[in-house]
């Protein structure tokens, strides 16, 4: 993926997810699975062996009615840049260079044909954004006709993860090139989850581009590892300096506190 850049200035694709708007409907998860040919099993009750690139967590403030409040937190891959661009927790540890940080887009990719399934990257990721194919994919009869032809299906024994629907970026670039353009408009590259969200809670774009909504909302301070300057915005595990590209918005103090201070969150209520 290193040669995919079409412009001199590197991009830094990222997301802003407004937790105040998210209703927890799960449309983003469904869209993600359909777009990316994510395999599923008849029994999906064991969540830690099922593959969900984008997972929605349910948080509560732990208070009884009528003060109970719920917040849904969608968690795609955070596409960490690390302390220096490209030093993601997972990319730095993969022994076979099967996961890669694209300096042109900031996207962390997974090379399925190179992964040999050591799962070190899964252990390195604090967000549990990486999933192992414990089984070979089996599609219900006829469903193989509805698979996305732009995305390869994965075999048993390898790791996969969210790649910000990179195939859409490639398609968009092809179209732009055919039209003699080098740059994509903001709307020309959008992830499946962004488009599926009925509440408009997920916003996607180039964090480096001041014209893009994500830049305007999160106001990332690139001199400080992309930390948000919007007081309502925060990133998960900021202290670890993973330098993620997924920003969350919440006007509720208990949500912001709970993200940083586990004691304030009712652990027994945390579900996903």
């Amino acid at each position: 993926m290193k040669q995919t850049g079409n412009s001199d200035k590197p991009k830094r694709f990222g997301m802003v997810i407004d937790l105040d708007k998210c209703t927890g409907c799960g449309a983003c998860m469904v869209a993600c699975m359909a777009e990316n040919n994510v395999p599923f099993r008849e029994d999906e009750s064991k969540k830690r062996v099922s593959i969900t690139w984008l997972q929605v967590y349910r948080l509560t403030n732990g208070k009884p009615y009528p003060d109970a409040e719920v917040c849904y937190l969608p968690r795609p891959c955070q596409h960490c840049a690390g302390k220096h661009e490209g030093h993601s927790p997972c990319v730095s540890v993969c022994p076979a260079t099967a996961t890669d940080y694209d300096q042109q887009t900031g996207i962390v990719s997974q090379i399925y044909t190179r992964c040999f399934g050591c799962r070190y990257c899964m252990g390195a990721c604090p967000y549990h954004a990486r999933h192992f194919n414990w089984w070979d994919p089996v599609w219900p009869e006829g469903m193989e006709k509805y698979l996305n032809p732009d995305v390869s299906a994965r075999m048993r024994g390898i790791v996969e993860k969210c790649n910000f629907c990179f195939q859409r970026y490639q398609k968009g670039l092809e179209k732009a090139h055919m039209e003699g353009r080098r740059e994509l408009e903001e709307h020309e590259y959008q992830t499946a989850c962004t488009q599926a969200c009925p509440a408009g809670a997920i916003i996607f774009g180039d964090l480096n581009n001041p014209k893009h909504q994500v830049h305007q909302i999160a106001k990332p301070n690139l001199k400080k590892g992309g930390r948000p300057q919007n007081p309502k915005a925060f990133r998960l595990l900021e202290e670890l300096e993973t330098n993620t590209k997924v920003y969350y918005l919440s006007s509720k103090q208990w949500v912001q506190d709970a993200i940083h201070k586990p004691d304030l969150l009712d652990q027994t209520e945390a579900q996903h």
Binding site: K46, R48, V49, Y57, L59, L73, C80, G82, P89, S92, V93, C94, P95, A96, T97, A98, R114, C115, F116, G117, C118, R119, Y120, M122, G123, A124, C125, P126, Y127, H128, R130, H131, F132, N133, W134, W135, D136, M155, R156, G157, I158, V159, L236, L237, E239, L240, E241, T242, A258, I259, H260, K261, P262, L265, Q267, A270
Partner: protein, 440 residues
């Protein structure tokens, strides 16, 4: 039946007893092999691992056997490079145990990866920044060194040694063994260290992450140090178990005492460094990442502060003090107890650095992840143990593993039988009761 293969001047159990032993352990081995093929053909869904526990029982077993097998490189270093010549009495066994441990580790890895046929990618598409790449390269190279160190012992088999070429080859290999011992020590330093680095570099996992010295986290040095300290203790423990089973004294007491003393002092210095590392991590590193020590040891059914105490005190300070105290280590029971505690200590350390790392929640809204292995994981972990016992049984029976054995266990001469046989061979070999009837 196999008396012609048994080393001179030593006594072995009857062949039926040996075959029975092999059969029992072999049955366990077959159970493990069956589970191994299940994992290979049906996939890792045969295990209880999951997306939270990508590393589990196997990786722990891998790290544990490599630490325990550290006796091979460290004893080799002490004998061939530092010049502790008395260790020649135990070096063969240390090499054999190391060979078993490292071959087991490679076998476990071959089962553990999701796509075993792609294992060579780690060499072909190597990411030089990954600790696992360093592990793969050094581990493979060191296994080759251990094989080279083990070969002369195999060639010393009584029948093989009769072939002049083999005899000369063995002699030449022995002469150059210092080169391999030095290479082995060099490689071991890096692969033991990089195994520590596997956990220490995980900056997304505050429980594992440690500060770095240049590119190496402190766990790099602690793992090498602990392998050098605890490996010899494991060699001593297995020697003791072998002596119990064979009901013989196999290694001179002076050698045992020397290795125990060195292991003890290494352990004492290691555990001091480990305690300093733990204090620094608990008071500085973890808080800087947004965690307190309590976060790692509470709100879960298994991992309490007891495990930290068990690793540092029960499996570290106590055996170290026992081994450095001459009066205690000279007591056979106390020595064995110390080595058992040491083995528990280093295994606990490896468990914590793999399994607990996976268990601790990092995101505030995540929960502790618990895990228990499937029978297939247990069987494939027992498999190398059974394989190791079989290799020890065969090596002990047919190879001169313990140079002092004949001297420490003189055979009672059965002169009447030898005299009646009156063959040239019997006269040449002297009193060796098992040989006489068959050879005659």
């Amino acid at each position: 039946m196999d008396s012609a293969l048994i080393p001179k001047g030593v006594k072995r159990c009857p062949i039926w007893q040996f075959a029975l032993g092999l059969g029992v352990v072999g049955a366990v081995l077959l159970w493990g092999v069956y589970a191994m093929f299940l994992c290979w053909f049906k996939g890792l869904n045969q295990t209880n691992m999951n997306d939270y526990y990508g590393f589990a029982l196997w990786i722990w077993a891998d790290l544990a056997v490599i630490a325990l097998g550290g006796g091979a490189f460290f004893t080799g270093l002490l004998k061939y490079i530092i010049g502790k010549d008395d260790l020649k009495n135990i070096i063969n066994y240390a090499v054999l145990i190391g060979f078993i441990c490292y071959s087991s580790a490679l076998l476990i890895l071959a089962i553990d990866v999701g796509q075993p046929l792609r294992s060579w990618f780690i060499f072909w598409h190597a990411n030089v920044h990954s600790m696992l790449t360093e592990v793969a390269f050094c581990l493979s190279c060191y296994f080759a060194v251990l094989t080279i160190e083990y070969i002369p012992l195999v060639l010393e088999n009584r029948q093989l040694d009769k072939v002049p070429f083999v005899h000369n080859l063995t002699h030449t290999m022995h002469e150059h063994m210092a080169v391999f011992a030095a290479t082995g020590a060099f490689l071991s330093f890096f692969h033991q260290g990089s195994l520590g680095g596997v956990a220490g570099v995980l900056f997304g996992r505050p429980f594992a992450f440690r500060e770095h010295l240049f590119i190496w986290p402190w766990t790099f040095f602690l793992f090498t140090w602990s392998a050098a300290a605890y490996g010899p203790s494991f060699t001593l423990l297995v020697t003791r178990i072998t002596e119990k089973i064979t009901r013989k004294k196999l290694v001179k007491e002076s050698t045992i005492q020397l290795l125990a003393k060195i292991s003890g002092w290494m352990m004492l210095t290691y555990i001091t460094a480990k305690i300093i590392d733990t204090v620094y991590w608990a008071t500085t590193t973890a808080p800087s990442l947004g965690f307190t020590l309590k976060d790692f040891y509470s709100n879960n059914p298994v991992y309490g502060f007891w495990i930290l105490g068990a690793e540092l005190i029960l499996g570290g300070v106590i055996p170290a003090l026992m081994l450095v105290t001459p009066k205690i280590r000279q007591n056979r029971f106390a020595l064995t107890t110390a080595t058992v505690l040491a083995v528990i200590g280093v295994c606990l350390n490896r468990w914590v650095m793999i399994l607990q790392v996976m268990a601790v929640p990092v995101m505030s809204f995540d929960t502790w992840a618990m895990y228990y292995p499937s029978w297939q994981e247990v069987a494939t972990t027992v498999l190398p143990v059974a394989y190791g016992i079989i290799l020890i049984m065969i090596s002990y029976r047919y190879l001169p593993v313990f140079p002092n054995e004949a001297e420490l266990n003189p055979l009672e001469p059965e002169t009447p039988v030898v005299a009646t046989a009156g063959t040239e061979e019997a006269a040449e070999e002297g009193p060796e009761p098992e040989l006489t009837p068959a050879e005659a």
